[in-house]
Structure formats: C-alpha cells, structure tokens
C-alpha cells in the first residue's frame, strides 16, 4: 500500500501538463490587449516618446511571452515578440569603402550614415562608450571596427550598441543601410522567459556560445527587450526585425541582430574578446 500523502506529492510532481511553459507570456499578452480600456500611463508615455523619436514606427505594447520560474528583481532580460520596426525610414545610403575598416573585418564593408530611425543618438568613441556605460568593448574581431558606436538607454546605466553596415557577411537588414547591430548591456538572461511565440513565427532556442555562460537564438520575428530594474520596467526600442543571438557572459548580455544564420552568428560571437 502506498503512502498516500507522499503519493499525492509525487503525482503532482510527475503529472505532465502540456503548454504550461508559456503561461506567463500567454497571460501577459492577453493582459496587454485591451489597452484602450485600461491605459497604462507609464508604458503609454514611453511608447509615445518612442513613436515621436522613431518616425513611422509602430510600437508594440507589452506582452512578453515568458515562463518565468522566479523573479530576480534586477536587470533581467525578457523577450517579447511582435511589433514593427522602422524598416525604410532611412533612404538608401551611398556605399563607400570604409576608411576605418580593420584588417580583421570582412571584406567590402560599406559606410553609411546611421539611419536616424534607429534612434541611437550621437556616435561616440569606443573609449567614451566604455567609460560612460561601464561595459566592456563588444567589438567582434570578425566584424572589425563598427560604422558607429552609441550609448543608449535603457537600461539606466546604458548599453553600448555598435552599428555595422551591410557587407558580404552581413546582408541588408530591414533598416536600410544597416547590416547588424552588436550590443552589450548589464543584465541576466532568465531561461524561463523565452518562449516560442503563438500566433507568429518567432522561435527561441538555447544554443551553446563559445566563451559564454549560455545563449539563445531568436529567429523569425521581431522582438523587444524589457529591462527590469528594481522598481521599473522599460521598453527598449525595437530596431531590427532580424534574427538575434543573445549570450550571457558574467554580468553582461551580448546581442547580435542581423539577417544571418546561426552558424555565422556563432562565429561572430566567438570573436568577441
């Protein structure tokens, strides 16, 4: 005769419940739907500000699809599908050979003005970016020196974003004149936050990234990032509707956004010092 209470505990542990992994995201997506009936002032204010900055962009309101097992309460990264990007807000740029290309960069890198639709702010030196954000240099040796370097927010402390023009390695992204964005920010990835999106083609899967503590490959649909700091959550501007590789190294998350294969993304990631 089995011990009944232990048996109940064990049955609860072992019963298989399909679809539960995406519960948090499913709930929040629905919570975010009737916005017109229940406006969330802070998010709407932020959305308004971003819309003002990003001409033609449509900002998706929060609906993160994540199945979180626990809440860290600081600097967590969530991914949410949906939204649109400032696709052709920038006119086609005239390609020219970059005077700053390094020998380690792939061939035929072109230089363009940074599309204003990306809302990246002024181009700064890498030294200044590292100093201001307190972050390491995320430059992948495989890509070489970027077209421009920016410090943007969120998070409050800033993230460094490198802009790369299209090249043989980096196809044109939906934002004309841009091949890839490489960024680093202080955060921690919580695996449970990632989910395959219902209703669109976004997929997320865990991948091994050399020299990293863990990584994720997001394919097939635009997404946004949430930065949750002690008492606030913020929308990050949706910049490219491309595949994305995210990987954790220590207290930092690195990100490559580009229309590239996972294999290429992993090669690029492996070249980040």
């Amino acid at each position: 005769m089995i011990e009944l209470e232990r048996a109940l505990d064990e049955l609860a542990e072992r019963v298989q419940i399909p679809g539960g992994d995406w519960l948090v995201g499913d709930v929040l997506r629905r919570v975010g739907e009737p916005v017109q009936h229940r406006p969330r002032r802070r998010v709407l204010a932020l959305a308004g500000a971003l819309v003002a900055l990003v001409a033609g962009a449509t900002l998706a309101l929060p609906g993160p699809r994540h199945a979180v097992a626990r809440w860290l309460g600081f600097d967590s990264v969530h991914i949410e599908p949906g939204g649109t990007v400032p696709t052709t807000a920038s006119p086609p740029a005239t390609a020219s050979t970059s005077p700053t290309s390094q020998t380690t960069a792939v061939a035929t890198t072109t230089t363009t003005a940074v599309p204003p639709a990306l809302d990246l702010g002024p181009d700064v030196s890498m030294a200044e970016a590292m100093s201001r954000a307190g972050l390491p240099d995320p430059t992948p040796a495989l890509l070489g020196r970027p077209q421009s370097v920016h410090v943007v927010h969120p998070p409050d402390s800033g993230q460094i974003i490198l802009v790369y023009a299209p090249s043989e390695l980096l196809p044109m992204s939906p934002v004309i004149g841009v091949g890839a964005l490489v960024s680093v920010f202080p955060a921690h990835i919580e695996e449970g936050f990632f989910a395959k999106a219902l209703g669109n083609d976004a997929t997320v899967r865990s991948v091994d990234v050399p020299t990293a503590d863990g990584g994720f490959w997001i394919e097939g649909a635009p997404h946004q990032l949430f930065f949750d700091s002690a008492g606030q959550s913020q929308l990050d501007t949706l910049r490219l509707a491309t595949n994305t590789l995210l990987w954790q190294r220590g207290d930092h998350v690195y990100r490559i956004e580009a229309d590239i294969s996972l294999e290429t993304a992993l090669r690029i990631a492996a070249s980040v010092p």
């Binding site: 064990e10 609860a12 860290l72 600081f74």
Partner: protein, 184 residues
C-alpha cells in the same frame, strides 16, 4: 554594477502590478504558475486543458487586482480564481468528457528514482482515477494542499474557512481517497 539580488515580495509585486507594471504581474504568475497548472489539472481532471484554464483565470485575476484585500496573500487569492475557473471548465465539459476518461488519461513522467519513488505507473493511474471519484469538495482541499502546495493557512484563505476546518477536511478527504484506492 551592483548585483545584489533582492527578490520583491508578493505585496511589492502586487503594488507594482496595480500601478500598471505588467512585468510585475508576470513575475507573480511566474512564481505560482506551477501551482496554478497543477491545481487546474487536478480539479478539471484534464491536464491537457490546465494551461488554458490557468491562463483564463490569471487574466481574470489581473483584472480583479483592485479587489484583492490582502496583497501578501495573493497566492491563495490567485489560486482560488484558478480553482473556480477549473470548476467552471469542468461543468462546461462534463457532458462531453466522462470523468473517468479524464482522470484515467493522465500522463505521468517516469519514476525519478525507483529507490525513493512511491508511485509506479499503475499506482499513478489508480491514484488519478481515485481523485476523480471522490467528491469535488474533497478533491479541492487535496488539490490546494498537495498539488498547489498551499499551507493550511493559505488553504483556509483560498477556501474561506477556518484553519482548523482545513485540517479536518484534509483528513477526511485523505480517508475517502484511501477508501477509493482500496476498492481498486
């Protein structure tokens, strides 16, 4: 960078969620999703429907946040909404899905450790079927205590009864479940 990790309390998350921070509500859902799913599964009898039931209930919980009187007790409050949704779901589907077929179709993971596990596959099936045969009132208290992992105090809050009542109801429900198991 300061990496001190201080997890916010349930009450903090409730306050943030009430102020419009959906991520905070997501954190609450994340904390209690396992309990919610298991609760929905055992009360409805259908693990396949548990995710839908829990989702529906938690959306309702979000809308009802202003009615929550004790933010520190958000867990039993949310799970009570899940339990009610599961009961409603059960009523709506009962005609089409016989109880025995629901509880008899549970899939359980393999025994994690044959040395310490108390349930083989047959036992698991019999126990699920027995849960389906006892009264809903008995099943509910067992669901809160053993599937959702609520304490007696939390179960009392979820059932809106005194803590002592939970103890006696649990004992009674276990006895009835034992009888159901013994008859098989």
């Amino acid at each position: 960078m300061t990496t001190e990790s201080t997890e916010p309390s349930d009450a903090d998350l409730v306050a943030r969620a009430r102020a419009g921070d959906d991520a905070a509500f997501g954190a609450l859902v994340g904390r209690y999703q396992t309990a919610a799913l298991r609760l929905a599964a055992v009360i409805s009898g259908s693990p396949d429907d548990a995710a839908d039931i829990a989702q529906e209930a938690l959306v309702k919980a979000h809308r009802s946040l202003p009615k929550l009187t004790d933010p520190a007790m958000v867990r039993p409050w949310m799970l009570r909404i899940v339990a009610n949704e599961a009961k409603n779901h059960l009523r709506s589907r009962d005609r089409r899905h016989r109880r025995e077929s629901r509880y008899g179709s549970w899939t359980v993971a393999a025994m994690p450790d044959p040395e310490t596990s108390v349930l083989d596959a047959d036992d698991a099936r019999e126990l699920a079927l027995a849960l389906g045969r006892i009264a809903a009132r008995d099943r509910q208290v067992l669901a809160y205590r053993y599937f959702a992992g609520l304490s007696e105090t939390e179960t009392a809050r979820a059932l809106d009864v005194a803590a002592g009542t939970v103890k006696s109801r649990t004992a009674r429900a276990l006895a009835r479940l034992r009888v159901e198991m013994g008859q098989r």
